[in-house]
Symmetry: C2
Subunit: 380 residues, 2 copies
């Protein structure tokens, strides 16, 4: 049905190319919600044909109550009574993802990441033991197996690691669903859609990757759990910025006002009264950001120059163990140095260290780091 | 969207070829209701783009409450509060046709004829002055203009006449919507979809055909209002049936049990202790009906023979004035006789006289009757 939803939304955009009113967005949600409703009904019919009693519900029928922010609504509450009654009656219950209903009875959609989020939200409302997400991969890997053939599937990954991995481009789960799972402490298991349907519960528990919020003894005690990477970004630097308060706000405020999302932000100590300010944006926003800075920011700021580079990539090591281990970052830098890879930017968080390097070294860097942190070795 | 709905229902039938359970029909309604929802949202968006504030509602949002007879639900009540508030706020309100919601919050569809019926039902709930149905013709004609170029558009037609015309194959309005309009006394106006949208109210009132339940002085006092015809039927006769009580039930009971719809039924007086029993069915059911009668009915009944003819047509004159005028039927038979057309069956009701004739005379008969009853002459 996804092709059909895109076709419908395309028709809407043809009809009203520049509309953004609430009334318009309300109709977009009416439109966009039909695809999931149709595929849920078809799934119920398919299950019934196989002999499984089954029933499908649109978001408003559960109901999944949301606020009224059309096209990007937030879930406010879920009534589990109807689902629970059907489960008790032995039925397979199918709930449309991606949609709900507001206080006034208008259909809303949850926007990007809404489908997985719906699953997690329903699991939270049901106080389910686990929420299984069937996707096109069979779990979360130490890194992308297409880049590093030795990449291993992780049996368990912490919620925080998953957040860092997801936002870094390991496109296994929608980041918003992971946040939601964390908020309501719903254990999430990522499984392949090609998992045999008659797998027993023991096998199922051993398959996929469990994303857990509990750091118990069962947890793999790896310092680094995975290597994430991303070549969708470009680097932009504003050079020779007079070092005075409000610089970051003047630069990034203008960028944010233009609805451009910024990832890494770096400002180094100044020398000679000026400093250099660098950040990364999505490559699609590169030219627009440079223009914006040249036209609106540079004149006001008294900065000397704006330079950019689209031929970069970001490589990150992620691991909850990093919090209690020292020397992890330097081990990373050492491994890259050994391969002769120059580091252009560094950014760190509690459980992640990211570097920006020339994009041509991306695979080399990922393989080197995967090996340096012994990620190809199964853990005890 | 109608192609899309058919595609979805086709998928459902592929998945579950022989399902007829309530659980299955419920999912069919979930599926079938999505098309109207999508096209209603698109219409609202198109109107907004033209500067008309507009809002679309699915049946359950109004709500249009129905019973739980999935795929052929009946409307039970309509809440007009939401629509009334939007109209008061100057909005164009679009309500999906063909669907509603049952007591338990399940989506239902109204089945065949449901879209026009929804419009009439909403108009009844709103106590609207008129319900305008935009369709692919610009009104109800004295007969099909493709057969009789002199056919005239009727300014007004009575509810009863419209019922007879609709069921006779003048495919202007869905018969169920006309019945509904009669029940709730909603004046219905049939208009062309190509009516200019900026037509003023006076022009609009003069256009199309008004179907009214009031027989007031404004009503055209035509004896015959229109000629309906239909070549979808076939004639079946059971010959030499012993004339005793229960014959009609024995023959038609078996036919009804096989879900075959019967139109005209004729039994003439008996001679020599036996009678001939004739009726018409849809041509698609012809062979099946003959087989059924031969195998199941004839042996029990002691009848001599079953004969059938698919090369027939039915031509009817319809007119509320027939009730108070004598000699109308004989004028009809006379006109047909003048053209040398043999009448095979005759069936009459209060405001309709139908004849079954050889289908090759259909156009000739329609033209002759149209002329005989002066239908090509504008009325005062």
């Amino acid at each position: 049905m996804s092709g059909e939803t895109n076709r419908l939304l395309g028709l809407a955009k043809e009809l009203a190319p520049s509309k953004t009113t609430d009334a318009y967005l309300r109709e977009l949600d009416m439109l966009a919600s039909t695809g999931e409703q149709a595929s849920s009904a078809l799934l119920a019919i398919a299950l019934q044909a196989e002999g499984f009693p089954s029933v499908s519900y649109a978001g408003w029928q559960v109901p999944i109550k949301t606020n009224s922010a059309y096209t990007k609504a937030r879930i406010e509450s879920i009534d589990d009574a109807r689902i629970r009654a059907d489960l008790a009656a032995g039925k397979v219950v199918i709930v449309t993802g991606f949609q709900g209903v507001d206080e006034a009875g208008n259909i809303t959609t949850l926007g990007r990441g809404g489908s997985d989020t719906s699953a997690v939200a329903v699991a939270a409302a049901m106080k389910a033991a686990e929420c299984l997400i069937y996707t096109d991969v069979d779990g979360v890997y130490t890194t992308d197996p297409r880049v590093v053939p030795e990449a291993r599937r992780l049996h368990t990954v912490s919620f925080e690691e998953m957040l860092e991995m997801a936002s870094m481009g390991s496109k296994v789960l929608q980041i918003r669903s992971v946040e939601f799972a964390g908020k309501y402490q719903v254990p999430l298991r990522v499984l392949s859609s090609f998992t045999p349907w008659d797998m027993d519960l023991t096998e199922e528990a051993a398959s996929g990757t469990l994303i857990t919020f509990e750091e118990d003894e069962k947890m793999e005690q790896a310092v680094v759990s995975g290597i994430a990477f991303n070549r969708d970004e470009s680097k932009i630097s504003v050079l020779g910025v007079p070092d005075k308060p409000g610089i970051a706000y003047q630069i990034l405020g203008a960028v944010a006002d233009a609805n451009i999302e910024v990832d890494i932000i770096i400002q180094n100590v100044s020398k000679g009264g000026t400093t250099d300010f660098s950040f990364t944006v999505n490559r699609n926003d590169h030219a627009r950001t440079i223009d914006l800075l040249k036209e609106q920011v540079l004149p006001k700021l008294g900065a000397q120059e704006v330079v950019g580079d689209t031929k970069i990539c970001k490589v990150s090591i992620v691991g909850i163990g990093m919090r209690s281990h020292v020397g992890i970052a330097s081990k990373m830098f050492g491994a890259l140095s050994e391969e002769g890879i120059n580091i252009q930017m560094i950014s760190t968080s509690e459980i992640k260290t990211s570097v920006v390097i020339d994009e041509k070294y991306m695979e080399l860097a990922v393989r080197a780091l995967h090996k340096a942190f012994d990620l190809d070795q199964p853990k005890a």
